[in-house]
């Protein structure tokens, strides 16, 4: 049977990345289909964030290729010094562990900035779109507040909305609940679940195993910069094949 590559939204091929002598990612391959939710779990400091950062274009790969809808992400240059396609980069949205809202701008201004300056929407169009997103995450009453007046959970929901204004085709979530107090985690996961139910393609690095089981189409266990095991969540969580996976998951029981 011929493999239909059109099914894949993003293909990451043979990604390698090291910081000095530390090999963070090696021989890393991952395909994500349209509308697929891929959850990446694994010990801290073993390349999960770096993977997302390479996809977002915040980190340069040492080697490897990324294709988005079969178009190459790297448009010129070779390893370590290359140009990525801005057009493709704009299809990718990212949410960070530390929220990274712009502190000098109100909630609404945080959402408007790139919509107006990058997407070139009119003020009115961008405002309406932002307002709808804020309504969706239940924070329209906070639109004129500065981020410092929001709780961590609210900040992270705004950060998700800020990424969504740009109409990304895939969303990257980098341990977005790790910096939150336990009672604030659910409100952020709820927003992500809603997003998943609307068919967003998602690549999620998380320690929330409940969320991984609930939302993931595929769960990847990553250690030492490479994929140790992957599978459907119900299979991987209940019957992991690899010893390292079992060891890691035992911490969450």
């Amino acid at each position: 049977m011929e493999k239909n590559e059109d099914d894949y939204f993003i293909r990451i091929i043979n990604l390698r990345k090291s910081f000095g002598n530390l090999h963070v990612l090696r021989n890393f391959n991952l395909n994500v289909k349209h509308k697929e939710r891929v959850i990446i779990v694994g010990p801290s400091g073993k390349g999960k964030s770096t993977l997302l950062r390479c996809v977002m274009g915040l980190e340069e790969m040492d080697e490897g290729e990324i294709f988005v809808e079969d178009r190459p992400y790297i448009i010129s240059g070779s390893s370590r010094k290359y140009q990525i396609s801005k057009e493709i980069q704009l299809q990718i949205g990212m949410v960070f562990q530390s929220f990274n809202l712009f502190p000098h701008l109100t909630v609404m201004q945080n959402l408007l900035l790139a919509a107006v300056k990058v997407r070139k929407m009119s003020q009115k169009e961008a405002f309406e779109k932002s307002l709808n997103l804020l309504k969706k995450i239940g924070l329209e009453d906070k639109m004129n507040e500065y981020p410092s007046r929001l709780s961590g959970g609210q900040k992270q929901r705004v950060a998700i909305a800020r990424a969504l204004v740009m109409d990304p085709k895939i969303m990257l979530f980098d341990e977005v609940t790790s910096a939150l107090d336990p009672e604030l985690i659910k409100e952020v996961l709820d927003v992500m679940e809603q997003l998943a139910s609307e068919g967003m393609t998602m690549l999620v690095v998380t320690h929330e195993m409940g969320f991984a089981k609930e939302v993931g189409d595929k769960v990847i266990f990553m250690d030492e910069g490479t994929i140790v095991e992957e599978g459907k969540p119900e299979v991987l969580f209940s019957d992991p094949k690899e010893k390292r996976t079992r060891q890691f998951l035992s911490h969450f029981l």
């Binding site: 977002m56 809202l101 997407r119 500065y146």
Partner: protein, 223 residues
């Protein structure tokens, strides 16, 4: 028989002190404006990726920050005309020296303010597709300015006081007039105290505003 304070001498010579203060304000004001321009240029060079330019600028900054302003003044007043074979009035050489000095401190304030904006903020900008120029314009500079303004104000107060050194190259500023009057009236205590009060009355409110502003602006940058 003790010393009898007499402040009459102040009122009699008020016009002399006022004309001196006017010169002080001119010299400080012009040096601040030119220093801001120089400081901005210095910060750009210091932060440039060109290693040589960056290091030369760093050398300039450290030289002017770490040597006495008095020496800088004297050097520019006496030596620069010899080296460049030009004539400089003491007004011009005072401006040059103070501008070079304050430009170095402003430049350092600009640099540290810009670098104080966290990498996370820049990355959030990249993830939203903002170009490098847009990130500078909409993310880095607005945040840096809030960090920089109190530092600039505090540097400017220092410059205002340091400007009294121009009296040593014969510039007829407030300090010069004060010393002149002290010598001619034999009332140095009254006159120098008054001179100090004039500096204080002008600088203290700015120092207060700086403190208030610092707290207020820092609050705005809380995340």
């Amino acid at each position: 028989m003790g010393y009898k304070f007499s402040f009459d001498v102040i009122w009699e010579n008020a016009d002399v002190l006022i004309s001196g203060f006017w010169v002080t304000l001119q010299i400080t004001g012009i040096s601040i404006v030119l220093g801001l321009l120089l400081g901005a240029l210095i910060a750009i060079l210091r932060l440039s990726r060109n290693f040589v330019l960056s290091k030369i600028t760093a050398g300039y900054i450290e030289f002017f920050r770490c040597t006495p302003v008095l020496v800088q003044l004297v050097w520019i007043f006496y030596c620069l005309p010899i080296v460049l074979r030009i004539e400089l009035t003491n007004f011009i050489s005072s401006i040059i020296a103070l501008t070079l000095y304050v430009g170095a401190t402003y430049g350092e304030a600009f640099r540290s303010g810009i670098q104080a904006v966290s990498k996370d903020q820049i990355e959030a900008g990249i993830a939203l597709g903002l170009s490098s120029a847009q990130r500078t314009r909409y993310i880095i500079l607005p945040q840096a300015v809030r960090i920089i303004i109190p530092v600039l104000l505090s540097n400017s107060i220092s410059l205002f006081k340091e400007s009294s050194l121009v009296s040593t190259v014969g510039m007829n500023d407030l300090m010069y007039k004060g010393r002149l009057l002290s010598a001619t009236t034999f009332r140095p205590i009254e006159i120098l105290t008054t001179v100090a009060m004039i500096y204080f009355v002008f600088a203290f409110p700015i120092a207060l505003i700086t403190r208030k502003l610092e707290v207020k602006l820092a609050k705005k940058l809380e995340r």
